[in-house]
Amino acid sequence: MNIAATLPASHDQPRTLPGDLAIWFFIFAELLVFGVFFLAYAFARARNVELFDASQLQLDRISGAINTALLISSSYFVVRAVDRIRHGASHACAGWLVAAMTLGGAFLVLKLTEFAGKFAAGITMSTNTFFMFYIGLGFFHFMHVVLGMIILGWVAHKAWRGGYSAANHAGVETGASYWHMVDLVWIVLFPLIYVMH
């Protein structure tokens, strides 16, 4: 086993980008799209603060907060998974990834319940600009959680079958990086749309 790879990264060592370079292009592109949407939200809100504030009160903040906790925890599990594979523990790595996916699944269920409630109340993307952002951005992020889970599932499957090792585990880091991006976007999205007045 490569001993250097098992040591925790020290700040003295030159740090390289984890995972595949291509995923970082992808992550930046995603952040760019979300970033533009967040800016658009800010401008749209500034032009109609009262409508946004009134509509925001109809959102379920508890559900949003639980979802935030779920995603942050899942990100921690993904960190554990990367740590495990750095020690060559394939099965433990896969286990942590499955745990992260379970929390991701819980996020999806909660989010669907939230959306179902809104649709039952007759709210759609055409109700007003606030709900356009709430449903549109929420759904767009939802699809990213789904994609993130597919990527984690792929990585977990490969890890379980011994496809990664302490020396060679760029794939795990690639999947983990994407998942952190999905989490990061939610951490901005939640306060922006659910909380900030």
Binding site: A22, F26, E30, L32, V36, M125, M132, G136
Partner: protein
Amino acid sequence: MKYQSQAVAKPYFIAAIGLFLGQILFGLIMGLQYVVGDYLFPAIPFNVARMVHTNLLIVWLLFGFMGAAYYLIPEEAERELFSPKLALAMFWIFLVAGAATILGYLLVPYATLAEMTGNNILATMGREFLEQPLPTKVGIVIVALAMLFNLSMTVLKGRKTAINLVLLLGLWGLAIFFLFSFYNPANLVKDKFYWWWVVHLWVEGVWELIMGAMLAFVLIKVTGVDREVIEKWLYIIIAMALISGLIGTGHHYYWIGTPEYWQWWGSVFSAMEPIPFFMMTLFAFNMVNRRRREHPNQAAVLWALGTGVMAFLGAGVWGFLHTLAPVNFYTHGSQITAAHGHMAFYGAYALVVLTMISYTMPILRGREANSRKAQVVEMWAFWLMTIAMVFITLFLTAAGILQIWLQRIAAEPMGFMAAQDQVALFYWMREITGLVFFTGLVLYIVSFFIKGEEARAS
């Protein structure tokens, strides 16, 4: 060439160039009709000239894509084409169907053509770019499916590379989205909504995959850069193209009766659409700068670099110019759209097909590269056509800005035709530039007949 069956690409390319010439002739006719309204009336009315101009463009690009695929797939898959005979049969079917369709447009009134070809059975005609009679549309589907079967079988049994998989994905997408041309709902909003699934999802979706694969293929060949590097670029480019382009369809849904949220979604996603094109520019220049050999076919390298630059300018910059909803509110359906359409189609799709032809034709004719003399003429053709297209775009943009001002912004807005009269000067300049483009095209065709000693790597 490495595989005998690649030779089927040759008739496809020859047909493509022939139809390209036809397209430009009708472009010149129509360009003149902009300022001399009754030119060639009633033999060739404006609407017919326009239909022939745009349909020929689509058909010659399809011939180019097909020829390119028949050349590229065997080489990438490292085996002979599944059935060269099927590919040749499809060539003749497509050529005859295409020629018959164009003759139909020219010889009988469109309504009569519709009656003759069973439009009453399934009404699909009368929509911009999808004017083809039902039998032609069915023919396109048959030709496309036969080609996909042929190519897919070749790849299934052979080597799978990023390039041939991306190309296949693009071609499958092309065939699948074309099926929406058969869906023609009575509701005008729905009609337009799904019409864009063919038009937009072709040129700002799956065609970009085809283009990326073709460009990557030629760049590997002429630069000798490692396949891994080129494939990684290709993946990132197509990922960006799909992220931005699919939901970017929304930039056509601003004012057609679709929900208002499309103004946000269309604006944000289509604002990203220049990114993949900009990456193609970087890609082409980077690979050429890192080249590990001097390929004797310098003309092909020029076409490839030209594709990178002109696709970004035409599709990226001129697209972005009017893609945001608040801007598009004023510009939609004006000469700005025409300016964008011209440079984008030329820069992205005409040039990538010409790049592929430039690289493969000498090989199909038994040499690695044409003579120095032939290449010089070919490069002249490149510069004449490209510079002419830049000016056509600039003149149309100027016409568009003036048109929008007079017709939509001025204190006392003019009617459409009155505004057209005011911009006539720009139409004249566009027509003259069109003649320069035509000269370039003639030189291009001449370059195929110039003999001389085969150029060697310097």
